[in-house]
Symmetry: D2
Subunit: 247 residues, 4 copies
């Protein structure tokens, strides 16, 4: 997959601070925008985000170009409802070749890869033959596999992204959307490092794991913290590693 | 596909009227609920819906059991963001057999059907072989075709349904979600006939087609109405036929 | 204020469980609705809600009649965006008398009460005089105080209600919406005791307070839990007391 | 009131076109952003917006500083749910003076103005006296009138703005939010003239009035168009006049 940040709100790392000041000031947002320094807005954003008061970070928006994710992944992606999507259509685009995403565990397994490739080839072949018979792309694509690649423009605000990261940067997330999430995280942290200072998996944001016995072990559960048996969290290191590996 | 209405708001055909009266009355909703007759709420709902003031119909909710639609269709379905979805997981459910949706135009074409069936069989076969090799269902499913069946619980309010019908009851919609929409329309009209009195495709709701030169011809365009060249709309008959055929 | 539950989803305490089973079953929601017992759905709902997986509880909806809250309170109420509102209009309803909400701390203070009453009386008087001069209600109401009473139909799903309770059952919330929240909580717990088993303020749902130094002290902070200095939480008792006092 | 556009999406007049091309192209959004000219995106945006296919314009966001609107107006403003708001708090800001919005019809009527002013003065006076008695601002403000001024940061995408304009640029809208809408329209048209080419009241966007007998007469109804009795629409001139008068 290839992920690019193709647009965003001007002053995306400052706007939430301007909003925060507006709520408790006699001055207008336009005035505050001129008078408040980045240092002042940084300080305020850090405090409100730490308390989980995420409403002010809704004022910062980010638009991504997402290229070459599978339809399995895209089906999960569009379940995030506080977001705007425009997807490459399988109804209106006629494909000459079938580009697919190969799951790493299949890629690594020679035998599995062979089975996978043959299945994909058969699907691609059937699609072309159906087109040749006069079947429309919108029907021929019923043969296409979940692995088929698709493209997207996705726009989300920082609050919705925080929720996206909480769920999809979690090690329990499906591997492909997990990778996508870290690529997106890396890109927004570059533009809005203060807003996304503690962004990442749920355990990164909260300080503990909420998945109970299903948890991956990177962060302690609240139960373990209460009992005093918590090990040190390794989610920060994991987050940095994942961002580095996916860029 | 099989579609059932498995739950809905109590008094779903009256609640929007109670709400409408609340906006212009000194009395509380609880009182209005007792004093306003169905005839009175019917009359008020008809007037506000005719003016396109749809906010009051948000108070009526409907939950559907949707069984056996394709993943091609479900990917379109979940794009409706003012709705709640719970979908059968391809990550957590291990499938012994691959049930699929066959597009009618493929079903009707003997040669196409053969190509389609072979492709599906190959996909199903690959999935099972990958599982046998120890590949997890969440990865093996990358071979699964768009045609694979899935189940859903979907909950939407009447306003969001009106928008869903406007788009998906339109003849330009993809055939499978088009059929789904008419099945859902039939079910809600039985429970809330007044709220959904004029529900259907965009042209049914507005009185003209907005698709311009891409329109299907069932209803005239606004341009044709202006020019005085409009033919009589046949969308009502089409709506009734579609509901009858899909039940 | 007077709050009534005037409608809700049929089987509101079971629907989320049916949805949860759908995600990991081969059977359709309609079948699961027939075969799964209340005991089975109860058990599943408890587990998913405990993990914070709230999406399935979106399938249960609740409609309230809210009578006689102030416009100060209603302005906060309508900030909850995942909800449907129909409000009594100050533009279209002509008021003969001005009914107001008196803040308890003003009620209890004789001197304050006198100042308050005179101000309200003046506002009511001005409104009537403006109407007499031919000013429309929509303009005359600019004199009306925040204390002026208003009515609402509000519909929210259980997930949005959980968020509403998290914020508004917190002792830091404004007193009037705080009271409203506990009245609503009491009503929904009667209809859906399993879905709302742990509903209440953020600290009730999470097990700790997120407000840091601004917290009320009813529940320990995560910091205190980590340090081993946490006192026992009293939020359960507070929740029960508040529901009892406001019914 | 004072309204400023304080932030927006980079390339806000081009992004929707990039998204539109993505849906029917083999190329990624990032590539299309480089290769498609403004002329090409303009052309595509015009076509899709004309068909009412507004989803692609969701990718453009606009943040406004709104200063000095009344609480009557702000209560209507926050009813738009597909938007982000941060409002100046009457709970946390202690006001030394009460700044108010005077409805024009009261301003013009000497007698009415006197009644209005006295009522406002009494409210302001009561507020200060209550503070002096130790009453908190959050309770003292119950005396404050709807006319009291407030500030906002509001962020909306172009699609939500189109809906906001449809409702609030309509002559039937309340005068204050009507003025606000035209101020906002003027600001966004400067930055995204193609996206907002036909933005304005519902009749401006649709070509006819949907308010039936309640309509203002600026645009014909669909009924009149059908009957051939439609007069020429004057909504374009009205829109230009309103934007000019409110800047």
């Amino acid at each position: 997959m290839k992920v690019d940040l193709i647009s965003y709100t001007i002053d995306c790392d400052k706007m939430p601070g301007i909003a925060a000041f507006t709520s408790c000031s006699k001055r207008s947002p336009a005035e505050l925008r001129k008078t408040k320094t980045k240092e002042q807005t940084d300080d305020f954003i850090r405090r409100v985000v730490a308390y989980g008061h995420h409403s002010v970070i809704e004022h910062s928006y980010f638009s991504f170009s997402i290229e070459g994710i599978s339809r399995a992944c895209s089906h999960e992606l569009v379940r995030h409802r506080i977001a705007s999507f425009t997807q490459q259509s399988q109804r209106y685009v006629k494909f000459n070749e079938l580009n697919t995403v190969v799951p790493p565990k299949i890629e690594k397994n020679k035998e599995a890869k062979k089975i996978f490739d043959e299945s994909i080839e058969k699907s691609a072949d059937a699609y072309q033959k159906l087109l040749d018979l006069g079947i429309a792309p919108e029907d021929a694509r019923y043969c296409f596999p979940n692995a088929a690649k698709t493209n997207f423009v996705v726009t989300m605000n920082a609050r919705s992204l925080m929720n996206f990261f909480a769920l999809r940067c979690c090690k329990r997330a499906q591997w492909e959307i997990h990778e996508l999430a870290y690529r997106m995280l890396k890109l927004v942290k570059e533009k809005a490092p203060v807003v996304f200072e503690n962004a990442g998996a749920s355990c990164m944001q909260r300080g503990y794991c909420t998945e109970g016995e299903l948890g991956c072990g990177l962060a302690p559960t609240l139960e373990e913290i209460k009992k005093g048996t918590a090990k040190e969290s390794k989610i920060k290191e994991y987050t940095e590693k994942m961002m580095k590996n996916n860029s």
